[in-house]
């Protein structure tokens, strides 16, 4: 009889152990990765942007004088340096147009205004209104200056020796006509990837508008101009670039 008690106890204990062994795998709780939270980051960006600009007075002047309407859409390359502190981001950027879109009609004998170059630099300050797990959506504003340069010429159809090219400049050609250092204010939205590692890489897209603060006179390096026409340099742009960031001071969740 005495051996029966340990046997029954063993049976009950065994059942418990078996029950524990046959339990399915318990899923780990809190297995969702947490949102990264680096307080400070330095970033370098490089990319391109497409812009479109209106130059109504120059266009009107060229049309009134029998010229082709100047193309004012262009692709720019840009580089930028910036930092982010919590949800605020500041960026300094410099860009220059590629004149890829400044193609002109090949057979036209009208006056042609071809964009030759320019530059642009400015600073932007943004705040991320949407601070998500994978992306940040910034609203930003900034200030800067931009310049634009044109060459005005007309095809003659003549064939001349290269050695005499400097002696045969046709009348009316302007090798340098443009607006220099026109100030603007900048505003737009930016979507960038959230930094998840101490060294992060990501792509960013900006859509914005640069509004010229005042009408700026056209100047030429060839002549001093009196009573020049003026335009306000304002442009819409879509910017896409890659950025690399170093991030510090991860907060404990």
């Amino acid at each position: 009889m005495k051996f029966l008690i340990p046997f029954v106890a063993w049976m009950l204990l065994g059942q418990c152990v078996l029950a524990q062994q046959s339990e399915p795998e318990v899923p780990p709780l809190d297995s969702m990765p947490i949102k990264s939270n680096y307080r400070f980051g330095l970033n370098i960006e490089s990319g391109v942007f497409q812009s479109i600009m209106r130059l109504p007075h120059l266009q009107k002047f060229m049309e009134a004088n029998g010229g082709e309407t100047p193309v004012t859409a262009d692709v720019h390359v840009h580089i930028g340096l910036g930092f982010r502190l919590n949800r605020v981001k500041a960026t300094f950027q410099f860009s220059t147009p590629t004149t890829l879109l400044a193609q002109v009609p090949r057979n036209s004998t009208k006056w042609i205004t071809r964009q030759q170059g320019g530059r642009q630099w400015g600073i932007q300050l943004g705040y991320d209104l949407v601070n998500g797990y994978a992306r940040r959506w910034y609203v930003y504003s900034g200030v800067g200056v931009q310049s634009i340069d044109f060459t005005v010429y007309r095809r003659t159809g003549q064939t001349i020796p290269f050695g005499s090219i400097l002696l045969n400049a046709p009348p009316g050609g302007v090798a340098s006509l443009g607006i220099r250092n026109a100030p603007y204010i900048d505003m737009g939205i930016e979507m960038s990837f959230r930094e998840k590692q101490p060294q992060s890489r990501g792509a960013t897209t900006r859509i914005g508008y640069r509004h010229g603060l005042r009408q700026n006179d056209y100047r030429s390096d060839m002549y001093g101009l009196t009573d020049p026409i003026s335009d306000r340099l304002s442009q819409f742009y879509v910017q896409t670039f890659f950025s690399v960031s170093d991030n510090f001071s991860r907060k404990t969740p």
Binding site: L29, D30, P33, A134, M191, A203
Partner: protein
Amino acid sequence: MKALFLWIGWMLWSTLSDVKSQPMPEKAVVMLYREREFASLSYTIFVNGKRVSALSTNRFIRLEVPAGKVVIDAKQNYLTKPRSVYFGAEPGKLYYIKAVEDVHIVGRSLLLGFVREAQARRDLTRIKPMEPETENELP
């Protein structure tokens, strides 16, 4: 000694009778939810390879899954990386799984992870149920 035998016998009988009287549920329940995310996609949810529902942002779905090993997948299209969660579902148990969209340079995916009940209950107070799909939308 007799009393001891009687007590052990009663314990065994009551345990067995309890097991017989209560029908064992064969399914577990999974509450799968997403919090509000800006500009995010809706994903299709599969349980053990079978499509069960779509899951949009700020929505939850209640899934009845069979007990045993369960695989829940979230897919969208060929540009998104499929993500899965594997676990052993206990009959009658309630699991909370949170989903968050992750975005990379070349694609995106829906991360799935278990969360504690207290946190899930807090989150679910702000989240609406997913509307049931029509027959035409189901495969």
